[in-house]
Amino acid sequence: MSIGHAVEVTIPDNLQADYRKAIRLEWITVIYLISVAVVMYLASGNSQAMEAAWIEDVVGIFPAVAFLVASKIHGKPATDRFPYGFQKAFTVAFVGAAIALLVLGLYALVTSLIALIKAEHPSIGTFPLFGEEQWLGWLMLAALMYSCIPAIILGRLKLPLAKRLHEKVLFVDSHAQKADWLTAAGGMVGVIGIGFGIWWLDSVVAIAISSSIVYDGITRTWDSMKDLLEEMPMTTDNKNIHPLVNDVISICLQCEWVTDVRVRLRESGMVFVGDVLVIPKQNDNLIDRIAQLREDLMAIDWKIADVVISPVRDFAQLREK
């Protein structure tokens, strides 16, 4: 069959350790977050702020699981049905996690707004501890600390890995965990406020927490949409066009047999792929020259995984300004 299968991407040796560490940390994250979900659920009682914090923690499970599933799939060799391979598994993971975040954030926001409007006074009773009845609020505060301290540590460990691997799901996930202290602090303010009889502080904090989840959800969903729309590769913080794009252009223009070039790249999971259209000066040795150029471009960085170089007469097939 004349279907061309893309070659699998191999992560370079110096990043293999990072990649394996990232996977290990994400497994730890998933197990830890499930335990947090259970602990917070048992302790949460009536507080809206705690419920919002619980949702934020539970939602964190999605990107972690998405990353793990994508990492299992992305290395699979291309098939006839999927000739481009499975690199985009990470993009799929990103979209799923982003939408989950947005939907749950909206749910939390709506329920806390309703609680505030209905002027609901949260009721927090007691629980038995060593024969004495203790205020359940203390247990809730302890649960909140459990939900934030390991999360911050995990976030700090994963962030540099995400930057080096240029992996969006991992980046956004670790960023969220590092910021978890704010959510937990909010939850604690809510519970402490209830103890002081300031019942509305709880709903207000919950609204703040869920608004930030919604804002996160919207930005991540928009980012994942941009990925689907095949935006040019950007730096991990999504602020600038990735420097490798310019590297590709300059290497092409440095070739003495090239008159002009047009470059188009897109992100495919952890790597970049794309098209390079060149107008050659002459027609001789074209195949060898193109082959050499392809080697040179792929040698720039492991992230440039696949470029298809086409010699053209002019750039009529493009929309030139």
Binding site: E120, H121, P122, S123, I124, G125, T126, F127, P128, G131, E133, W135, G137, L141, M145, I149, I152, W181, A184, A185, M188, I192, I194, G195, F196, G197, I198, W199
Partner: protein, 219 residues
């Protein structure tokens, strides 16, 4: 992170000096050393109204609690629905009357943690009748018992009587009443009921005081 710990420490010291948690509407404060307004809905043996006097298991508990906070009880008679509505509006401090943990009022008022778990069973006072199944069998129960639903679930036929003394056959009773009716050993266990009291939603100091009192009795 150090900031969080510092705040919690300061806060702990603050709490040690004053009452914590507090009631948004100062319920415990208005009841302490004054009048405890209690709604009691009729439900034997928890609450029994006779003319204008209240007796029953929960009536005694409430009187003891009131004494513990130096208050005098003012009893209010009414149906559970009416009393819960008054409780929601903070017109009462407490509502009692055989309220269980699965009460549908739990979203509008605060229910204490269950202070008592009542077990029930079906046994036989007739040696020739074994209670291994009650399908299509008559099961006698007291007039104000709530066990009719569970009997019907098991395809039995509930028969309500004023008294179960001298009844020969299957009876549905509270487990502690077993010796009173001379039941055989064999029995079918029924779902227990968990008993609570109700305070206004969000009045956490009052809730804590009531729960502490009720659970001290367990020991």
């Amino acid at each position: 992170m150090l900031r969080i710990i510092a705040i919690l420490v300061c806060f702990h010291l603050l709490v040690a000096c004053d009452s914590y948690p507090r009631d948004p509407k100062r319920s415990l404060h208005t009841a302490q050393n004054q009048i405890l307004k209690v709604g009691a809905s009729e439900f034997s043996p928890w609450i029994r109204w006779q003319n204008d006097r209240v007796t029953g298991l929960e009536a005694e508990l409430v009187e003891d609690f009131a004494r513990a906070i130096g208050a005098r009880v003012e009893w209010v008679k009414g149906s559970e629905g009416m009393l819960m509505t008054m409780l929601e509006a903070h017109e009462l401090h407490l509502v009692v009357g055989g309220i269980t943990a699965d009460s549908p009022w739990n979203k509008r008022v605060a229910l204490t943690r269950p202070y008592r778990k009542q077990d029930y069973l079906i046994c036989s006072t007739d040696e020739n009748l074994s209670p291994h199944t009650i399908k299509n069998q008559k099961v006698a129960l007291l007039k104000d018992s709530l066990l009719g639903a569970q009997i019907k679930d098991k395809d039995g036929i509930p028969e309500r009587l004023d008294s179960l003394e001298n009844y020969r056959g299957l009876i549905a009773i509270a487990t502690d009443e077993r010796d009173r009716y001379a039941c055989g050993e064999e029995h079918i266990s029924l779902k227990p009921s968990e008993h609570v009291m109700a305070v206004p939603m969000g009045e956490n100091a009052l809730l804590m005081a009531v729960e502490k009192f009720l659970h001290r009795l367990d020991r």
